[in-house]
Symmetry: C2
Subunit: 226 residues, 2 copies
DNA sequence: TATTAAAGTTAGACTTCTCTAACAAATATT
DNA sequence: AATATTTGTTAGAGAAGTCTAACTTTAATA
């Protein structure tokens, strides 16, 4: 049985390595930053998790999750996203409110609860942010992810996820008229600063490159979903 | 902000003092027993909670909740019972499974969550065990509580709550054909050992005095509810 | 009332997670 | 390559919650 803290470390490691399809490993400082903790603290925990065979750790080198660690991390991510879906779909929370509460709910220990919640929600595939919900067996369907910043003018795509879950960002997303599964048309892009002009529900808007980088879109599932 | 542990102490104090309408105060050993902790540990916490002005504590004497402590305790009880209702009504948990999971869920910190959950559940008045759910303002309607052991032969009443929430007890309750709001007719009682013959759904059953003492019934709301 | 039993308290220690401050290794820069 | 900067580690300490073991107070009883 893992403590809340240990679970949080596994989850952060998962986000920093597996999920963002980066180098597959992360440094102590980076991990500490993600968790809002001092590097010394993260270092201690890495050693502890190495003892439990959940993390590959070697002095002065990068760390990664072992298969066992990855499996546990995925179940935590699954719980987090199912709870977010519950809060959004059933309780009427807004997009930008769900994360904080789900951070707490994800640590509830009950296999049965998660199974029944999954069923109650009708086995959702995405959470309210568009992120994939792993199955009970730990399988994550990896969708083709492009950021809006990479889309070319003239293209039409669908918002499937956002990278940044901060309240400030999400509220800005809402203000721009965007939401999950919303169709976006790229009108033009500025070569100088990467600013993009988009069209949403027939309304045109100029967004910064930095903002666009945090919007994940999919052209394949574009017109299939409501 | 209280820790999980502090919340658990407040809740136990509430159950041992206010709710069971006992003497309104409880001893260190009794509290420790309830929490499954050693008296020394409970003693430390009582002093800590006294510092926070949530508990009335004096060396070598009984302890009780201050008004502030009582208020906090009631909100925890409210959360616990709302979650139990959710698990039972929406997720299809059985009567005897909900308590354990609700013990964890009750510590989630989000006023908004509880408000929305309350609404989602349609502002329930009782939890699956028949216990009263305090309102958002902390009001608990105290129902007229008699135990089945006190009912006289010939009387008809409705099961509104149980005193014992242990799995063993609840499963026995189920086996006897009883559940919340079930009509019970007292057929006869044995003067020698207090054994009672009851009729539930036309089926007769003999139950022990000890068992009957843990069944709370109400004759007033007898035939009003489904 | 004197003694025993029960209830309550204290002191010191352990675990988990965190920190600061000093130090060591690896990487980047000139 | 020598130095500077970044990154990572260690040692020591503190807060929270728990324990054991020894001790004190209160209540029960003979």
């Amino acid at each position: 049985m893992l403590s809340f803290t240990e679970e949080n470390y596994l989850k952060s490691l998962f986000h920093l390595t597996v999920e963002n399809s980066g180098p597959g490993e992360t440094g102590t400082n980076e991990l500490a930053m993600q968790l809002g903790v001092k590097p010394a603290t993260a270092n201690d925990m890495l050693k502890k998790l190495k003892e439990k065979k959940l993390v590959n750790y070697m002095k002065y080198s990068k760390s990664s999750l072992t298969p066992a660690g990855k499996k546990l991390a995925v179940t935590i991510v699954r719980k987090h996203r199912l709870w977010e879906t519950f809060l959004f779909d059933k309780l009427g929370f807004t997009w930008d409110e769900v994360h904080e509460v789900a951070e707490q709910l994800e640590h509830i220990q009950s296999e049965k609860l998660i199974g029944k919640l999954d069923k109650f929600l009708n086995f959702p595939v995405h959470d309210p942010h568009g992120d994939v919900i792993p199955t009970a067996k730990g399988v994550m369907k990896t969708p083709s992810k492009n950021t809006l910043a990479e889309e070319l003018p003239g293209h039409q795509c669908t918002l499937v996820a956002v990278k940044d879950n901060s309240t400030a960002f999400l509220q800005y997303v809402n203000k721009t008229g965007l939401s999950i599964n919303k169709k976006i048309k790229v009108v033009s892009r500025e070569l100088y600063d990467g600013q993009i002009e988009i069209e949403v529900d027939g309304k045109k808007n100029r967004i910064s490159h930095r903002f666009a980088e945090n919007i994940i879109v999919d052209c394949k599932i574009c017109f299939e979903r409501k």
